[in-house]
Symmetry: C2
């Protein structure tokens, strides 16, 4: 029989009609000669009733034999339900079964198919097809589709051309670690899976496409955390001839449409703009969560007048005030915060409490005659807790920014109904890498520097004091609730500037030529001014779904070992496969 409608759609409009539904047995119970079966499909649940006195023997027998998660096809008359259930759409009716066919049987599932189950993430991934049967997981996948649908509608309407770029690319060591693919035909050579279609989309601009977009998988072989997966999805776009602001406006309108379409929320734009320096100075983060205040404050000037060597020697002394929370932080709790500050590079954490009008804490004794100035500078009240880091400016900012978030989360200072979109702009072009001992791209090596600071681009990047730190980028990140949603920039469009940039990054000319020769060459054939942006789709969906791990919005994610507990990928392969690829595994 053909299905009349989804089970979840069988409402009063079908009253009196004979309908057929197909789905899974969500629940089955006997009650005084009646058997009730809840049939579930993607649209919801409908109740089936079998009256053993009036039903055929076959229907009665089948109704007794079926078990949870059997797949059934049920035909019957839609009747009014005596015991109405207002919590579900179909709660006013039930189907009086005239025939029940078992389409597929089921063993007892390893966990219950319902929302809010408690089982390990590993178990959920091992039986992902059962996990996805749970309505909340299905809702996440549908939200994801609703978001991409909304984005595509916008991009298509705005004249962006969806172009597929290759997955089998050339490996470029700049950036994160590549996933490699050995070539069978070209012995000893490898493709790399794209970390982003960056260069391809730039080439599409010089090809004249003017507006390109793609929703595309990208790959980074990095160690995994909650919001990282080996493969992730980018909403990738690029435009020619537009300014930074014009690109931002395009993106804002896209996001506003998505928010309206999928959340019914009116987002006002233009979004706020914050300079990178302000973000670091006030929030201690390049992706500030502006849903709550608790800004970092600059104590340097006052601190230099205090008779405490650590303060006097420090380049920067910064503070964050946890209002009315002093009594929530025991000595032990503060020690934990100090530990966190140290993990973020700070030498230590000083603290002051205002208790019954008196300042106490690790540096209270040094304040002496500066105590009033201290209270007034920070605008302190009873029961405030002040956390202070004296260090290099970046270190003080980052350490306190991290504490700011911890405290806000611990004490529910965040209004989780808010969606605070924000542009972080005026980025430095480079950032110092302690690990590499050199300046590296803050975004990527194709980012355009501002005309005003371009003179500093020729400096040597091997010392932290280099003039490179003065170079500013036409770069912009879009931030949502403390998460980096995406980032973009204007790009370099001349060979000369691109070569200067690569040199500043420490490339030797021949290496630059070897790896980026095709780009350098393309830059000589009328390359238009261009720029774009990429948004992390997984994170965007996660935030709109109100989840805290991108695995919740990915159909088949990998675990923290980059493995799939369901298929057991990755796996050993046959010697024949390795031979064909001219490779060997090492013992």
């Amino acid at each position: 029989m053909k299905r009349t409608d989804y089970a979840g759609n069988i409402t009063e409009e079908y009253l009196g009609q004979i309908v057929t539904v197909k789905g899974w047995v969500a629940k089955r119970r006997d009650k005084g000669g009646l058997v009730f079966i809840d049939v579930r499909d993607r649209e919801g649940i409908v109740q089936i009733v079998v009256d053993q006195e009036t039903a055929s023997e076959k229907v009665t027998e089948t109704s007794k034999a079926i078990r949870t998660e059997f797949v059934v096809e049920i035909t019957g008359k839609v009747i009014e339900r005596s015991n109405k259930n207002d919590n579900i759409k179909t709660g006013g009716v039930e189907i009086e079964a005239e025939s029940i066919e078992v389409l597929s049987t089921s063993k007892t599932t390893p966990f219950e198919i319902k929302d809010g189950i408690e089982t390990s993430d590993e178990n959920r991934m091992r039986y992902r097809y059962l996990d996805l049967r749970r309505p909340e997981m299905l809702a996440n996948l549908r939200l994801r589709h609703a978001i991409t649908h909304s984005i595509r509608e916008y991009m298509d309407d705005e004249g962006f051309i969806d172009v597929e770029t290759p997955f089998l690319n050339r490996s470029t060591p700049e950036g994160a670690r590549d996933y490699l693919v050995p070539s069978r035909v070209n012995k000893g050579e490898f493709y790399a899976l794209p970390q982003s279609p960056q260069l391809m989309k730039q080439l599409l601009m010089t090809a004249g496409l003017d507006r390109y977009y793609q929703i595309v998988k990208c790959f980074r072989d990095e160690d995994l955390r909650g919001d990282r997966q080996p493969e992730f999805t980018q909403v990738d776009l690029e435009t020619s001839f537009l300014s930074e602001e014009e690109i931002q406006t395009l993106v804002e309108r896209m996001i506003a449409k998505v928010m309206k379409d999928v959340k019914g929320i009116d987002v006002t734009f233009p979004f706020s703009r914050m300079s990178y320096d302000d973000a670091m100075n006030f929030y201690g983060s390049d992706k500030p969560d502006t849903r709550y205040e608790m800004k970092l404050q600059d104590l340097t000037e006052l601190a230099h007048t205090i008779d405490f060597k650590v303060f006097q020697d420090a380049v920067a002394v910064k503070a964050v005030v946890a209002k009315n929370l002093a009594n929530q932080y025991s000595r032990k709790a503060i020690d934990k915060l100090a530990e966190q500050a140290k993990q973020n590079g700070a030498q230590g954490l000083a603290w002051v409490k205002v208790e019954q009008g008196v300042l106490s804490g690790s540096i209270a004794k040094f304040l002496s005659d500066k105590a009033d100035a201290f209270v007034s500078e920070l605008d302190l009240d009873e029961n405030d807790l002040v956390l202070i880091v004296a260090d290099k400016l970046n270190t003080a900012n980052s350490a306190l920014g991290s504490l700011r978030q911890t405290i806000a989360k611990e004490h529910n200072l965040i209004d989780s109904s808010k969606f605070n979109f924000l542009w972080v702009v005026d980025w430095p072009l480079f950032e110092w890498s302690e690990e590499e001992g050199r300046y590296m791209s803050a975004h990527h090596p194709f980012t355009l520097s501002t005309a005003e600071t371009r003179e500093f681009l020729t400096a040597d990047g091997s010392s932290e004091d280099s003039d490179l730190q003065k170079v500013r980028a036409h770069a912009y990140d879009i931030v949502l609730n403390g998460y980096e949603l995406g980032g973009g920039s204007l790009r370099i469009n001349t060979r000369e500037l691109q070569e200067t940039m690569l040199k500043a990054l420490g490339f030797k000319l021949e290496d630059a030529e070897e790896q980026f020769g095709f780009l350098l060459e393309a830059l000589e054939y009328g390359f238009p001014p261009h720029g774009g942006l990429a948004i992390g789709l997984d994170r965007f969906v996660m935030l709109l779904a109100g989840k805290y791990n991108i695995r919740e919005v990915i159909a088949f994610p990998k675990n923290n070992r980059a493995a799939d507990p369901m298929t057991q990928a990755p796996s050993p392969v046959s010697q024949k496969q390795l031979d064909e690829l001219h490779i060997n595994t090492l013992e």
Copy 2:
């Protein structure tokens, strides 16, 4: 200055207005004190005029300095053109330049940026960004987007959920050769790039999605031909609870929408259905081109009465008649056809011509008293050429099917304005592989056999005479103009049947468990009846673009060595990268 509109959109509606356009210099010529510049962008070309008597010195100088493929920004007044050009949309106007800014310069391009150029494919790929500047290539990319846009609209409207499946999968040796990706974290293990998301989409059905689709890259490491690339794109869909016919109807309506949206053509459906056996018997192909007749004819019965041992011994004697073409085929031309027949497995090719009422040719002398029967059976007329293969039935069909196509192409028998969609149905479940010496899946190992023929599924597949050849599949291919556009099937939804199928394919139980254990396990938890289809997007776009190579509709394709002449991918990688992946290349 902000661009007013695309150059190609500057028509009479802008007359008298000051506009700014940005684009590439397509042409520049001096003519009696006037400089004419054609500016090209993705929407077309507009003519700029600089009158050296009235223009500023700067504009005049710049107009003289610019060269082809420079990127320029030009502002000026739109005026009526004295010398109208009706061939282009903007032909009624020109822009009187008030300012010209050079945004980017260009060297002389290695080939001209215009349609129909003659340069090597390798050169076009080497400078792909210039090749794509040619209007016909841009049109191909835009057609591709128009097609995916139309498909997505349809799928979204029909309630299909777009779900992304993983690219890093488990390798399964059944099927084509996998591209492998070494795992860094899991030493000595490999992911495989998907040949199709087959198992994942089936799992989405048991997860209850009911309708899934995705437009997704897939990968096969096979040797390349004109219509093959290492990576290709599939329109992939799967449904639960539908019959073969219901799925076909869904697809027909999708294709009809695409044809209407992008070609303005009304396609009538339902499409024709042809059984696999009829396709082979009448067209010698499982993807018949039905735009022209010239069907294969069965001569077996008559041939067995003819005094010619080759005919009498053959299982099948089949013929194809090239009407009124005998005089077009010299002895040498026929030898070439015979060579082609042999390449398709035939022992030889017999032929007969009707010339001036007389039968001549390789077997004319054997016909003797059967000549009239022969003429009447094949309905021969003057100047007909008959090609005959006596062999095993499959061989005779395939060899003549191939000749049928060659002759049709050589003599323009094909109406290239037609789009003949066709379903090939009633497939065998297995096909004999000479190479492997066993029966293999005609589609894939998850295809559902028909209930009527399922009893033969238990046979041993290691002999060509096996009963396995009797098993029919719920499988269907969609064919367009002699190309396999896509294929699909209903799938197995019980563990028992899936195990029987794997056994018939020669799997040992433990190997089946090792590779497909997760699927076998999933089949035990209420797996719904389901089926779907995948369409090869590259080929679909190619056919609608009227091209003969899928490279024409792919932005950055690989060459026949699976390499990209532009980026030089694949390439050697560093020892550090190999070390991290625990692999070595072999000398």
